[in-house]
């Protein structure tokens, strides 16, 4: 145990003192996020659009009270209202336009208002996903209150009530998509370059040979290296998340899947790195080999742009890359709150991770034959 702690301790000190490694594992992903965030966040943000579908239409004209209600919404001036034709299928429309907030005034609104039992339905993404939803809900509540007072001179009794429905939005901002991918990418580069660099460098210096003459076992050594990678990956991930939340207001749903995914990622890539280090002996060529693997994987795994936008051939390739599943899983769990898909991706990354780390550990040469 002391020996493993010594390995982790030594490696962490080395990491903190190496400016290049610190740059690639911490500064680079954060710079990348700031850069991409700045470039892609200027496009107009669909979140502030507030869709209203007035279904209470009589002879092609909105009913009087429903029309009044819409005007009152308009008068608040804070909502960017877009009217949706009453003939549109609500569900399809939401999906196609990527609607995040929609108010539905049902058929018969005028009649039921007179009977003092009308209701409207406000569909929004969960407020944990987007805090504007809370603001909008407040505004609509205000409007309803005014409407009630205007209609009856008192409040209660209520004329109109509001029903809330959650929307699963598929129209996240680019940065929401990008941050989990960035974490996946960082886990990959940190893991692969970490393991390759650490092992080839230490082999070149004779440190591995020296360690092999001590009572330290290969098993302890590898556990130490993996723990080190895990700590390094956790620090990188947390740093990215902190900047993401502070600068871009990225919404992160912490849950068990993301934690398992990060652990699984933190063993998959060092495992791959060990495999590379075993076959490529010199430091320089090992670096080149690591680059040759990480770069394509970075672009083909949907780190920067969704796989759906890629040609079929590239999508096929993406399907065999572990980073694809890691990034997808992180998105499912951290952003989309899509538990079943997160579970699927987590399971794949975990299994692949275990396979790689076992193979990597077995073939890492320690004592010579």
């Amino acid at each position: 145990m002391k020996r493993i702690a010594a390995i982790v301790n030594g490696a962490l000190r080395t990491w903190f003192r190496s400016k290049t490694t610190l740059f690639w594992t911490l500064a680079f992903p954060i710079l990348l996020m700031l850069l991409f965030g700045a470039i892609f966040n200027v496009s107009d943000d669909p979140r502030f659009d507030f869709y209203v579908q007035n279904q209470d239409v009589i002879d092609g004209q909105p009913s009087m009270l429903s029309n009044t209600f819409v005007s009152m919404l308009n008068e608040t001036g804070v909502l960017n209202i877009k009217m949706v034709d009453a003939t549109e299928n609500t569900g399809t429309y939401i999906e196609e336009k990527g609607v995040e907030m929609m108010l539905i005034i049902p058929e018969g609104f005028h009649q039921s208002s007179l009977a003092q039992n009308a209701s409207v339905t406000l569909k929004t993404v969960p407020i944990e996903v987007d805090t504007t939803a809370a603001t909008v809900r407040g505004v609509v509540e205000q409007v309803i209150e005014y409407f009630n007072i205007a209609a009856t001179g008192q409040n209660p009794p209520q004329v109109v009530t509001m029903q809330l429905e959650d929307l699963v939005s598929n129209n996240y901002r680019f940065i929401d998509y990008f941050v989990p991918g960035l974490i996946g990418m960082t886990l990959m580069t940190t893991g692969i370059f970490g393991a390759v660099g650490w092992n080839t460098r230490n082999k070149e210096l004779g440190i591995l040979k020296k360690l092999a003459t001590t009572p330290l076992s290969k098993f302890e050594y590898i556990i130490g290296v993996i723990l080190f990678e895990l700590v390094m990956c956790t620090i990188s991930t947390v740093a990215i998340l902190i900047v993401g939340v502070l600068v871009f207001n990225v919404t992160i749903l912490p849950n068990i899947y993301s934690i398992i995914l990060i652990v699984a990622g933190a063993i998959t890539f060092p495992g791959m790195g060990m495999v590379i280090a075993r076959f490529v002996k010199e430091t320089d060529s090992a670096d080149a080999a690591a680059n040759a693997i990480t770069f394509p994987m970075m672009f083909l795994s949907g780190t920067f742009f969704p796989l759906e936008t890629m040609p079929e051939l590239l999508r096929q390739i993406a399907r065999v890359l572990p980073l694809t599943y890691l990034s997808d899983g992180l998105r499912d769990s951290m952003v989309y709150d899509n538990a079943s898909s997160a579970l699927y991706n987590t399971a794949i990354v975990l299994v692949v991770g275990i396979i790689f780390i076992v193979i990597g550990s077995l073939i890492t040469s320690w004592r010579e034959e």
Binding site: T14, T213, T214, P215
Partner: protein, 311 residues
């Protein structure tokens, strides 16, 4: 000094695919001696060391270190605890300080033995203990490596070419450290291709060439047996001095303008000097050269070792 054997090697053979690196080597090392394994690059020194410290399995033969069999699992565990190894060309973590580096390896042994500050003092690096390893000169790096080798207060210290690539001053510092360790009663297994180093430091020398031992003994035994004669060198004596000396010394010869006269007994030297003097022969200087281990190697193999390579 007790003559207790701490390393016993019996006809060991090590084959790599098509190379036989060590070919039937036998020797013993006694407790408390500085034992040198001398030979050119590729002779099989490192391979032998790596077998003895359980880094490699042997192909045939038997070897025991401190009474433990290097081929048994239990033996290996015991040996690893008790020996200290400085691998050839060893360097440690660039971005750890001297002290952190030594601590690192000490933890691998469960922090037995002397404490880190003692080790730092032993190699005279007190003023550098907080310096990063990468910022040290080659000589100081080697001293850190030696301190690391002593991390577990080992009974036997294996030093594989500890002075290769060092400047003369740093080499001498390492020699002093080795002498200090011997004075503390440590057994030292040293490999080198520097004959002068072996001669100065060793209690016993084994010369190895192409995987086979070609000589084994104390430096003076080897020189006496294989070193050849003491030689009088008549610098710049040329033909003239040669003519004067050749009647009394038929084995005299000219080499690069110098006349070399083998000295066989006590009277040879004065006789030669008198002959030169009597004839008013012109020459540069007179030098008496005693044979050394280099001559031993030359006489045994017909070759010299220059920068580790056969020449």
């Amino acid at each position: 000094m007790s003559n207790q054997a701490v390393i016993q090697v019996d006809s060991i053979v090590k084959k790599y695919k098509d190379v036989t690196a060590v070919n039937g080597v036998s020797f013993t090392v006694n407790r408390g001696e500085v034992f040198s394994f001398v030979g050119p690059n590729g002779a099989g020194k490192t391979t032998t060391v790596e077998i003895l410290v359980c880094l490699r399995d042997l192909t045939a033969g038997k070897a025991k270190v401190l009474g433990f069999d290097v081929s048994s699992r239990k033996g290996k565990q015991q040996i690893r605890k008790r020996v200290g190894v400085l691998p050839q060309d060893f360097n440690t973590f660039d971005l750890l300080t001297v002290k952190e580096n030594i601590n690192y390896y000490k933890r691998m042994y469960g922090n037995v033995g002397r404490d880190t500050d003692d080790l730092i003092k032993l190699v005279n690096l007190e003023h550098k203990s907080k310096t990063l390893y990468k910022n040290l000169s080659g000589g100081l790096k080697k001293r850190v490596a030696i301190a690391i080798t002593l991390a577990n207060d080992p009974e036997i210290i294996f030093l594989d070419e500890p002075t290769t690539g060092l400047d003369p001053k740093a080499r001498r510092d390492v020699w002093k450290l080795i002498e200090g360790l011997r004075d503390q009663g440590k057994t030292i297994f040293l490999t080198t291709h520097y004959m002068d180093e072996a001669q100065v430091l060793s209690d016993r020398v084994v010369i190895i060439s192409y995987g086979k031992i070609i000589a084994d003994g104390t430096p003076s035994e080897l020189i006496l047996k294989h070193g050849g004669k003491t030689t009088l060198i008549v610098e710049d004596g040329k033909k003239e001095a040669y003519e004067v000396l050749k009647t009394k010394f038929p084995k005299a010869r000219i080499e690069n303008g110098d006349v070399l006269v083998p000295i066989n007994n006590k009277s040879d030297l004065p006789n030669a000097v008198m002959a030169l003097n009597g004839n008013k022969t012109k020459f540069g200087e007179l030098i008496v050269r005693r044979p050394n281990l280099e001559d031993v190697f030359l006489n045994l193999t017909g070759k010299k070792i220059v920068d580790g390579e056969l020449n």
